[in-house]
Symmetry: C2
Subunit: 190 residues, 2 copies
């Protein structure tokens, strides 16, 4: 999506360790007009797939998920990160490794809000190693829900995430795929 | 706001300890159509106040903030909860006590995204003791930004939050004010 790529080139910042900072418009400050265009594009891509629920993970996926859900006229469900040891029997739980922080955490969703028959679109801001997506897919499958696919804002195309998610039989669509990054030079795969 | 009050009566659940669960439509699963109507109402209330930025706190404020920001045509900034001890010089930091969890945590925003001249509307899902709002107000004031007011989805009118926030000279508007709760009987202040 050219609009997003152009914005990354204009306002994104590259830091050592393959870190791409887009916090001026995507995941700290949020440009809701840009996100609106991204939501429209995600709707175009997954139109006709029968999506009836959008699933994301707190916190930085929530904004994109909510605005995208407006185009699908469906609710958003956001999975919560938790450190609580005693998890209620009323939730589905999975483990996710954080690429950014090098830690592992539990992720939960209430059993009340996802079930067999749901056709779920997973939305998130970043795809790198794919750990968050794999966790969200696991939650859907525990619930017996169908994962229609994933819609990602920015994919790091030089990492393994897409391969790992696709090997689960799940479609992956990213609005911008970063091919390489170095000293503020970002190139995209098209 | 009758639409929200009716939804709370229909789908909200009361638990011991004055806990009102609205996680089927507000802060776990999110009904984006309802939030759209709430955003429209917040725009009506604060129209003409020159709001150029909406500030919220992760995670459950982000959805309401993003959808509301569409009506103001302004960006959202969400403050992050952090446990990192060494906070960069590039952020404003404050401490917030959690009413729900009985803990205290640091909350930060980047100095890049809030500054003198900003006219900030603070948006959040709940107002109880007001600790989150007071923290967000503190962040704005550290930055020299003007707090236009607060827009809250659900206020617990029997707790001290409003009084504490108003004593800072900040306007508080809530879309639903819970007067009392007991065994699934919720009454509103109108």
């Amino acid at each position: 999506m050219k609009l997003l790529e152009d914005r990354i080139l204009k306002d994104g910042q590259v830091f050592p360790g393959n870190i791409l900072k887009v916090d001026s418009f995507l995941n700290h400050q949020i440009d809701v007009e840009l996100i609106g265009e991204m939501g429209k594009e995600i709707k175009r891509i997954y139109d006709g797939c029968g999506v009836n629920k959008i699933l994301t993970i707190e916190a930085s996926g929530i904004g994109i998920a909510c605005i995208t859900a407006q185009f699908f006229s469906c609710p958003v469900l956001f999975a919560k990160k938790t450190k609580t040891k005693n998890i209620a029997a009323t939730v589905y739980k999975t483990k996710v490794k954080s690429f950014t922080h090098g830690t592992e955490y539990d992720v939960i969703v209430s059993k009340d809000f996802i079930s067999e028959g749901d056709r779920v679109l997973i939305v998130d801001d970043f795809l790198a190693e794919g750990n968050a997506l794999l966790g969200l897919i696991d939650l859907c499958r525990q619930a017996g829900a169908e994962v229609v696919g994933c819609a990602i804002a920015v994919e790091k195309g030089f990492q393994d995430g897409r391969k790992r998610v696709e090997s689960q039989g799940v479609r992956v669509e990213s609005l911008a795929i970063v091919e390489s990054m170095s000293d503020n030079a970002v190139t995209f795969r098209r």
